[in-house]
């Protein structure tokens, strides 16, 4: 029988079992790295550095995980904090860069394939909407869980998801059923 995340966390807490923590990393590395790649706009090297930092922080602070939320939700929160701190360190004022970056992009660019267009459209969203869409629509978190991860009110998450979805739909209108 496969151990649950809670069982593995319990082993780490009780015996400082690094093999159990390794299993947790193996299970969640793809989603955490995927989320960070979206947030860093597919800067793979930076995303992987932040993902490593996320898991190391998770290990050091695992006693702070009280099991009230899913382990993955707790990890997303650490990952998001790592991303924000890194952005601050690089003196990237997210809002300013967003506008600047969007100004450089041509939303009408036609890429071959829906997947490519979708990722392109996702990258065009402002950070707060992109983060909400990635967490809720792509990674399946509830609005409540996303609000905890992002440390913002539930209503703001709902608004960001709604606006992000609408923008994606508008950008991808050509792919819809005729």
């Amino acid at each position: 029988m496969e151990l649950t995340d809670a069982d593995l966390v319990a082993r780490v807490l009780a015996d400082d079992d690094q093999h159990a923590f390794g299993e947790l990393v193996r299970r969640h590395q793809s989603t955490v790295r995927g989320m960070l790649r979206q947030l860093t706009r597919t800067d793979i090297a930076l995303a992987d550095d932040l993902a490593q930092e996320t898991f190391i922080r998770a290990y050091k602070n695992i006693r702070g995980f009280r099991g009230e939320a899913r382990f993955s939700t707790w990890l997303y929160r650490i990952a998001y904090n790592c991303f924000r701190e890194d952005a601050r360190r690089r003196k990237e004022l997210v809002g300013v860069d967003e506008e600047q970056w969007q100004g450089e992009q041509d939303p009408q660019t036609v890429d071959p394939g829906l997947r490519h267009d979708l990722m392109h459209a996702l990258n065009l969203l402002p950070l707060h909407e992109r983060t909400a869409v990635v967490l809720c629509c792509q990674n399946g978190l509830s609005h409540d869980e996303a609000a905890r991860v992002l440390d913002i009110p539930l209503g703001t998450v709902k608004t960001n998801v709604l606006r992000g979805r609408e923008k994606l739909k508008r950008t991808l209108a050509a792919w819809g059923p005729n």
Binding site: A6, G22, Q29, Q52, Y59, C137, K169
Partner: protein, 116 residues
């Protein structure tokens, strides 16, 4: 226009599984060293300290004479008073056990948050 369900499905499919490709190994290599003392050693230290403390108390109290005297005094109490005392002790211990169980068990703790 694409509907919400299709959009969410496309988003999930657009995020493929990322192969580990040595990622876990590099994280494990950067983890701080595990605590050295094993669990059994901590248990042995605790048990040793408990036994030592008990021995000291036993010797200092004149071979546990106070326990014998306490039991003799207790036997002089009326039966109904002893029953009330035992019932009260049971209630206090039971209440602590329930509180601890709720705090330690996420499933039970979550029940308290359910909205009916």
């Amino acid at each position: 226009m694409i509907d919400d369900e299709t959009l969410d499905r496309q988003l999930r499919e657009a995020a493929p599984y990322i192969d580990d490709d040595g990622f876990t190994a590099s994280v494990m290599a950067r983890l701080p060293a595990a605590r050295r003392e094993p669990r059994w050693l901590r248990a042995m230290i605790l048990m040793g300290m408990t036994l030592l403390g008990s021995g000291v108390v036993y010797l200092l109290s004149g071979g546990g004479r106070f326990v014998r005297e306490g039991v003799i005094q207790l036997s002089d109490f009326p039966v109904w008073l002893l029953l009330i005392f035992a019932f009260g002790c049971g209630l206090v211990v039971g209440a602590f056990a329930v509180i601890l169980a709720i705090r330690k068990t996420p499933e039970v703790r979550d029940l308290a948050r359910l909205r009916f």
